[in-house]
């Protein structure tokens, strides 16, 4: 019997599929967008808007696009304010949107950027929530220059997202602006531009500032990557239309950028291998997939198996499938699964360039490293089985840990580890980028990052340890270790090395860990519980215990600090 929750999830997935034709249309229609009514649960999203130009031209369509992304938009729209005094949006705002028409200023682009950075710095110091900035410039080239300069100048502030409005301005050219309706809308934008920007705000820019990135895409074959049925038409009888090529190119690009691709297909494995070997016109290659789930099992079981193998949660997947029944059934089985109904290849390719949680994120070198790293998982697992014990295994891997204290150049990755790690995260503090930036420079805080490499791969920065001095004790606000570093028995070395250094730097002799129970952080809690018999009466841990643990593993792995000579 299907539970109420599972039934609701299936119904929501089907209802969202019904929106796709409107949401991902080549040219969105205001009338069609406004006719959409969400039939699934939404999370409130309070947007404080600081503007000198009308936003009402896109606020209603934006609500619908945000609903597709899972949000119920609540606007707190400030007065028209060229001075950007931030008179609206208190601490209850989820996010700020700064929306400015540059034509209202007599400043040069350089001076405008300098002034904006000063204003954004003031706002950043007042609130830690993300700030989106959209600038309407005189032309797309000027807009792109302003956006690039703003990105560079605000990087250190943390949590500032500059919308690439100039991309849409460049696509629309002269029709980006319209004087015809300016008196009614109080905005220089045309209806067409307003709809495209509403879609980017609702599907890309706002979700990218708020949602964890989708880590993997599960995609089927027949009807999604080509037209036809492999088992019936054979590999050479399948038709790859223009839209299918676009879908394959998009998936290939995601694989290159570090999103994990999983093939979930109800076919014979030999037929699938033969297909990719013989169809040289496929943009997508078998080597693009981090995992193959080929067989006659349900899609939910395939995704769960792939999730286990790739060490990510099943709800970090996007399922792309041309079978609405499969989408409904899989949504019912996997809570939180994102889905894309691949009814039409051209629409699917557009959806892949706009899907919330998939686009708008800064290029993450860590994700690309992760994808390559996962390809070595099987090799490493086989190695573990053939060596005599854990110490031998670690020694055979040639593990190297490289630690760094307060590494500001790793700000993005440190933030990412706090918000993305679920299994080994002691406190689930979910520090915003701005909060991490503040901790990196605070005299009473020490942030330690740990990078991991072995003879098989370079995993990059895999741990972030957030500490601060609390009297005579080192308070550990969060230990976040990427799941790709787990399962090798390295936790003692990673944590002990980082905490001993931070304790020495801050002149304390004991450590206290903040531990919060979360739905999936059992590995972290289990590790902490392993220390329980060594705790002092006040719940703190003497440094000697950490020193003892570090000694045990330091004989078989190499530990160094950034800047150390090899």
């Amino acid at each position: 019997m299907v539970s109420q929750e599972a039934g609701d999830a299936a119904a929501s997935a089907v209802a969202r599929a019904g929106w796709q034709g409107t949401v991902f249309a080549a040219e969105p229609s205001r009338l069609a967008v406004l006719s959409l009514k969400p039939a699934w649960p939404l999370s409130p999203l309070r947007i404080a808007i600081h503007r000198n130009s009308g936003v009402e031209i896109f606020s209603a369509p934006l609500s619908r696009f945000l609903a597709f992304a899972g949000y119920l938009a609540e606007y707190d729209i400030g007065d028209f304010d060229d001075s950007l005094s931030f008179g609206t949006g208190g601490p209850d705002a989820t996010i700020d949107l700064v929306w400015l028409d540059a034509a209202r200023y007599s400043l040069s682009p350089t001076d405008l950027v300098d002034w904006l950075v000063e204003r954004l710095t003031v706002r950043r110091h007042a609130h830690a929530h993300p700030i989106l900035v959209g600038i309407l410039a005189s032309d797309s080239e000027t807009g792109a220059d302003i956006e690039s300069a703003l990105i560079a100048a605000t990087h250190g502030l943390g949590g500032i997202v500059v919308c690439d409005v100039s991309r849409t301005a460049g696509i629309l050219g002269p029709s980006f602006y319209s004087e015809r309706t300016g008196a009614v809308t109080a905005s220089p934008l045309s209806n067409r531009a307003a709809l495209l920007l509403a879609r980017l705000l609702g599907l890309e820019w706002l979700p990218a500032a708020l949602l964890p990135r989708i880590k993997a895409i599960a995609v089927d074959l027949d009807g999604t990557l080509y037209e036809g049925v492999l088992g019936e038409d054979g590999p050479l009888g399948l038709v790859v239309a223009h839209g299918h090529t676009a879908v394959q190119a998009s998936l290939h690009a995601y694989a290159q950028s570090g999103v994990l691709l999983v093939l979930t297909s109800k076919n014979a494995a030999a037929d699938v291998e033969d297909l990719f070997a013989r169809r040289t016109d496929f943009t997508l290659q078998l080597s693009d997939f981090a995992d193959l789930q080929i067989g006659w099992v349900e899609k939910a079981a395939s995704i769960e198996r792939a999730a286990e193998r790739l060490r990510i949660a099943p709800d970090a997947f996007l399922l792309v499938d041309d079978n609405l029944g499969e989408i409904a059934a899989t949504s019912a089985a996997i809570s939180g699964l994102r889905t894309l109904f691949a009814a039409d290849p051209l629409e699917t390719s557009r959806a892949l360039s706009l899907y919330p949680g998939l686009v708008g994120y800064p290029a993450s070198e860590a994700d690309a490293v992760r994808a390559k790293d996962l390809a070595t998982v099987a090799l490493r697992d086989r190695g573990a089985a053939s060596t005599r014990n854990d110490a031998d295994y670690l020694r055979s891997l040639g593990v190297r840990l490289t630690l760094a204290e307060d590494p500001f150049d790793q700000l993005g990755r440190l933030h990412e580890l706090s918000i993305k790690t679920n299994q080994f995260n002691t406190a689930l503090a979910r520090f915003s980028e701005a909060e991490v930036a503040q901790r990196l420079v605070a005299p009473d805080c020490r942030v330690v990052s740990v990078a991991l490499a072995d003879r098989l791969s370079d995993s990059g920065v895999i741990a972030a340890i957030q500490t601060r001095r609390d009297g005579p004790v080192l308070l550990v606000d969060e230990i976040a270790i990427s799941c790709r570093a787990l399962g090798r028995g390295l936790e003692d070395a990673i944590i002990a090395a980082a905490l001993l250094h931070a304790a020495q730097e801050l002149g304390v002799s004991r450590v206290r860990l903040v531990v919060i129970d979360g739905p999936r952080n059992e590995p972290a809690r289990t590790w902490v519980e392993g220390l329980s018999e060594n705790l002092l009466a006040d719940g703190s841990l003497p440094l000697e215990i950490l020193e003892s643990r570090l000694r045990r593993v330091s004989e078989v792995i190499s530990i160094g600090w950034t800047g150390d000579m090899a």
């Binding site: 205001r30 009338l31 009402e56 015809r180 309706t181 008196a183 009614v184 209806n191």
Partner: protein, 86 residues
């Protein structure tokens, strides 16, 4: 297209934008929409009828369904004239 058909379509558009039925709304009732709704009504009518309002359409003074229908018909007529040529 008759005036009644135009009015029915205008009411449909209003119903979608305002998210309530406009079938029973009086043609000369004012106050059915606010300034935010008006922006959406303007562009939705343009999409529905394939027209573009101009600065001379007196958009600021359109306050009821009757006024909207007249403005749409004037614009449709003007565009038909433009297409017919001199």
């Amino acid at each position: 297209v008759t005036s009644a058909e135009t009015e029915a379509k205008v009411r449909d558009v209003l119903g979608t934008v305002l998210d309530r039925s406009m079938e029973q709304a009086g043609a000369d009732t004012v106050g059915l929409w606010d300034s935010l709704d008006w922006i959406n009504i303007l562009f939705a009518l343009e999409e529905a009828f394939g027209i573009e309002f101009g600065e001379n359409d007196g958009l600021d003074s359109l306050a009821d369904i009757k006024g909207l229908v007249n403005a749409v018909e004037r614009r449709l007529s003007a565009q038909a004239g433009d297409r017919a040529g001199p």
